[in-house]
């Protein structure tokens, strides 16, 4: 038994147990009341935690839903490797969708700015949901990520066109969720709503959950652009005049499309170090995401349009 497993058995955080139970309750409630379910799988740490919670909710049964990954074709290579290995080892059904129109038009993060996110993520997600006729989709959003998310319910109702209306949210009392939807409407469900970044890392540590190695600091080929550090994951990253690739010891706090996801300088090579770094951290994790800074209240707007 590894040293870490010993710790895991010795310590059981009461507040993590509460969060775990709440998430399991949500998974079971949705599985019992909806017909066409899917879990959105982003391959990141939150997805890894969500997957473990779902496995706990339905054990000894298999997951009563597939996992769906929206592949923009610009994800870190290590993410795709990790995704395929998890599907193989954990034996879940994996659906992968890429927006064929976006692909045909060569939409990419360098030339198309924020329309890239719309086409390759938002539109792609809508396509996949419509194609399979899913009426409920689990997402990994947490309320501590961003201000408008702090106001989102666990059950988020979307119209036929996948839009969110912050003024028409249903009250959520106790642990009683109203799961009724009108024809053509769907819901997004966020089992990790009440988890924080620190909770997620503590849980990964205590439960020994595998995560993508990109979270751990290592020497990686990087370039500095507008004060942020980007990893040159493959030959498609276009260097501007004067920019030079350099090896730096970095890690990532969130994972997404590599040209849009900035890393941080860090020496944290192991889980305990990452947890400590998170505890001491002086900036929130979404800072590394380019799309949030576009415009004031940008996340709220993206969500109203159907972005997860």
């Amino acid at each position: 038994m590894s040293a870490q497993a010993v710790v895991a058995n010795a310590v059981r955080l009461e507040h993590l147990r509460q969060l775990e139970v709440e998430s399991i309750h949500i998974f079971r409630e949705v599985a019992a009341e909806f017909r066409r379910l899917v879990m959105l799988y982003s391959i990141g740490k939150d997805s890894s935690v969500m997957l473990r919670l779902a496995q706990k909710a339905f054990f000894p049964g298999r997951l009563p839903f597939p996992l769906l990954h929206i592949d923009t074709t610009w994800k870190f290579r290590e993410m795709i490797e990790f995704r395929d290995r998890r599907a193989r080892e954990d034996g879940f059904e994996l659906l992968v969708h890429t927006n064929p129109d976006g692909l045909a038009q060569g939409i990419n993060p360098f030339d198309h700015g924020s329309s890239y996110t719309d086409v390759m993520k938002t539109q792609a997600l809508k396509q996949a949901l419509d194609k399979h006729g899913f009426d409920a989709a689990f997402g990994e959003a947490r309320r501590d990520e961003e201000k408008s998310r702090a106001k989102e319910r666990v059950f988020s109702f979307r119209t036929r066109t996948h839009q969110w209306d912050p003024r028409r949210q249903r009250p959520e009392l106790w642990s009683l969720y109203n799961t009724r939807v009108n024809a053509g409407e769907s819901i997004r469900v966020f089992p990790l709503s009440n988890w924080t970044e620190l909770d997620v890392w503590l849980y990964i540590y205590l439960e020994n959950i595998p995560v993508v190695p990109l979270y751990f600091a290592r020497e990686r080929p990087t370039v500095e652009r507008d004060g942020a550090l980007f990893m040159l994951d493959d030959g498609r990253f276009r260097l501007k005049q004067g920019e030079r690739a350099r090896q730096r010891k970095i890690r990532f706090r969130t994972l997404g499309c590599y040209p849009l996801t900035a890393g941080i300088l860090s020496d944290a090579e192991t889980l305990p170090e990452i947890v400590c770094e998170t505890m001491a951290s002086s900036s929130s994790e979404r800072q590394g995401r380019v799309i949030d800074h576009d415009q004031a209240a940008s996340m709220e707007r993206k969500k109203q349009e159907g972005y997860f």
Partner: protein
């Protein structure tokens, strides 16, 4: 192992050792607008080190843009995350924030202060372990303070702080503080908040928020954060075992597990349990989790149970201790908070969700509405948005329950509108009405099929709905004549005629219309039970009530006939002169004029009186009855 890793491991273990046993504390903040709730929370987060640098910078930047705190940082902007909120400078929705100190992890549920958002306040309070009720030291106890304190108490929050804020504005005056506490105390006693803690503080200056303040040496109690860290964990595991079945796990033929979260008590393999409402009993075989089988599980654990006997149990049932089961009932005395713009109408059917069980229910009587300011009881025929009432609730099936004061999980429920699917209210069970236990269903051996077959027909209810003057009664009359001539046994219930007798006491308000339709529906049901072909001619303007009648009858027995005549044509015909009166303002609540008509979405028959003469329409109805084998062909 690298030195950095070793250090990290040590730091982490110290942190974990401190935190291990403490459950997270969820507390709700409430009080009137401008009492400084968001400022207090911003201050708490800032001082507890939970406000991260980039968030702090963002708040400073936003303060210059939207801020309402002059040169000071407007912490409210930290919580008011929606665009509309920042522009209007108010909190619309509940916000959730998280922070940890060395001693505990907290969830802050920040709720709106404006009266029109009371439902969000209720939502926040339903999940809170503790409440911080803010008061502005200059203004004292306001109606909204009382309203929120009342809701907090109603929702069963027992740990309450009265935080008297803005003490810096009253020169930290002890007498002012004590006067406010003295004013609040009798009110608190009346609403059942027997013990509360009063703390004088200044959120803006951080006095008595995290540390005790030297500015108020006369105050000897804890600072707010100290109090929050010390709120005791009140979960008990010595109660009888109770769990709603949430999900039945059947991965293969040999395994049948009942999955749920334990609401109360402890369970061990071998324990005798009972399934409710079915009443079947068995013993627990295994408690299954991903980490392996466990020897016991207790309140707050999410588990999967297997039973020794192969008995049927499904979602919506409860597994409970065989020796100490909860009561079951279908009629209750409950407190209700209404959360919808559409008012609560007694007699209207709603979905009632309690635990994992969803049934149909209706409020049979509003005992009174509560004035939250002075707690006086007011007479009411309906409940409007944000109103609180004490009502009788009747369900179509029994449910296992506990009083809300004893169990939030077996005593709290939500009401869902069956047509819009919106959550329209929430309620708390006080107790079961005794009548519920004493009225039994008398089994009668001769049933409706037996009665109907003697008459060589099948019973049914032909329900004619449409505007006044649309031709409902004319058509129903013609059809009854034809059926009668053919030897069928019929009865025609006319909306106007019942108002002379059975429904003499009812007027034309929405609540009276709901009751009118309910009674006619029950009357039609009894007659159908007698084996008759019942024709009902009734405007019955609301979908919901027609749906309720449909559900009270067997499948296929309710035939909704929409007599579709345009309003203009009805007005032109105006056989009773009622439209003229309504247009002249002499007749209120007239359907189509100042009271809505909700046309059927999926009726069995639509009769367009403009398109065909009555005889043709009558033939269509008779044809439909033959097709359904209600009458002989």
């Amino acid at each position: 192992m690298r030195a950095a890793e070793q250090t990290a491991r040590r730091t982490l273990h110290e942190f974990l050792a401190h935190q291990a046993e403490k459950p997270s504390l969820r507390f709700v903040t409430c009080g009137s607008v401008d009492d400084g709730k968001s400022t207090l929370m911003g201050r708490l987060l800032y001082e507890a080190g939970a406000l991260l640098e980039d968030q702090a910078r963002a708040v400073e930047r936003d303060s210059r843009r939207y801020g309402t705190a002059g040169d000071n940082v407007d912490y409210a902007l930290l919580f008011d995350g929606l665009d509309a909120e920042r522009q209007q400078g108010i909190t619309i929705d509940v916000a959730y924030r998280y922070f940890s100190t060395d001693r505990r992890r907290f969830t802050v549920i920040d709720t709106p202060g404006h009266e029109q958002f009371t439902r969000n306040m209720v939502t926040g309070a339903s999940n809170a372990d503790a409440a911080v009720v803010l008061v502005d030291a200059r203004k004292g106890i306001l109606p909204q303070t009382r309203r929120h304190a009342h809701i907090v108490s109603l929702l069963g929050v027992r740990h309450v702080v009265l935080a008297v804020n803005k003490m810096d504005q009253v020169e930290y005056d002890q007498q002012r503080f004590e006067a406010i506490v003295a004013e609040f105390r009798p009110f608190a006693a009346k609403i059942g908040l027997d013990a509360f803690t009063a703390i004088p503080l200044s959120a803006l200056r951080g006095e008595n928020v995290v540390r005790r303040s030297p500015a108020m040496p006369w105050y000897r109690g804890p600072a707010l954060l100290e109090w929050l860290e010390a709120v005791p964990d009140t979960r008990a595991d010595d109660e009888a075992f109770r769990m709603w079945v949430q999900w039945v796990s059947r991965p293969n033929q040999d395994f049948r597990g009942l999955a749920g979260t334990i609401a109360h008590g402890t369970v061990r393999p071998g324990d005798r349990v009972r399934i409710l409402p079915s009443g079947k009993t068995s013993a627990v075989a295994r408690i299954v989790t991903l980490e392996g089988d466990v020897e016991s599980a207790t309140a707050g654990d999410a588990i999967t149970l297997t039973l020794r006997d192969d008995i049927d149990a499904s979602r919506g049932e409860a597994v409970v201790a065989d020796q100490d089961p909860p009561e079951q009932a279908d009629q209750f005395h409950v407190s209700l908070v209404w959360m919808s713009e559409e008012p609560l109408l007694p007699g209207r059917g709603y979905l009632v969700k309690i635990g994992s069980r969803t049934v149909v229910g209706q409020v049979t009587d509003i005992r009174h509405r509560v004035d939250v300011n002075d707690l006086s009881h007011l007479a009411a025929k309906r409940l409007e948005l944000n109103e609180i009432g004490v009502v009788n609730l009747s369900l179509d099936r029994p449910v296992p329950f506990e009083a809300y004061a004893k169990s939030k999980i077996f005593g709290g429920f939500i009401l869902i509108d069956r047509l819009s699917n919106a959550t329209v209210g929430c309620g708390m069970i006080d107790y079961a009405l005794r009548r519920s236990a004493n009225i039994q269903w008398q089994h009668i051996e001769v049933d409706r099929q037996a009665r109907a077959s003697l008459m060589h027909q099948k019973s049914c209810v032909l329900w004619f709905t449409g505007l006044s003057g649309s031709g409902k009664s004319t058509l129903a009359n013609l059809i009854e004549k034809r059926l009668h001539a053919a030897g069928n046994h019929t009865y025609l219930v006319d909306g106007d005629n019942v108002r002379h007798g059975l429904n003499k006491d009812l007027g034309f308000t929405p609540e009276d219309r709901v009751e009118n339709v309910r009674r006619v529906g029950e009357l039609a049901r009894l007659m159908a039970d007698a084996g008759l072909i019942v024709l009902v001619s009734l405007i019955s303007p609301f979908r919901n009530e027609r749906q309720t009648v449909r559900e009270r009858l067997d499948t296929g027995e309710f035939i909704e006939v929409f007599v579709d005549t345009p309003l203009a044509e009805c007005e032109r015909r105006d056989p009773k002169g009622l439209y003229r009166k309504a247009r002249a303002g002499k007749l209120a609540n007239f359907t189509g004029i100042d009271s809505p008509y909700e046309a059927p979405l999926d009726p069995e028959l639509v009769l367009r009186t403009m398109d065909a003469p009555p005889e043709k329409l009558v033939d269509r109805v008779l044809e439909e009855l033959r097709r359904r084998q209600i009458i002989a062909s």
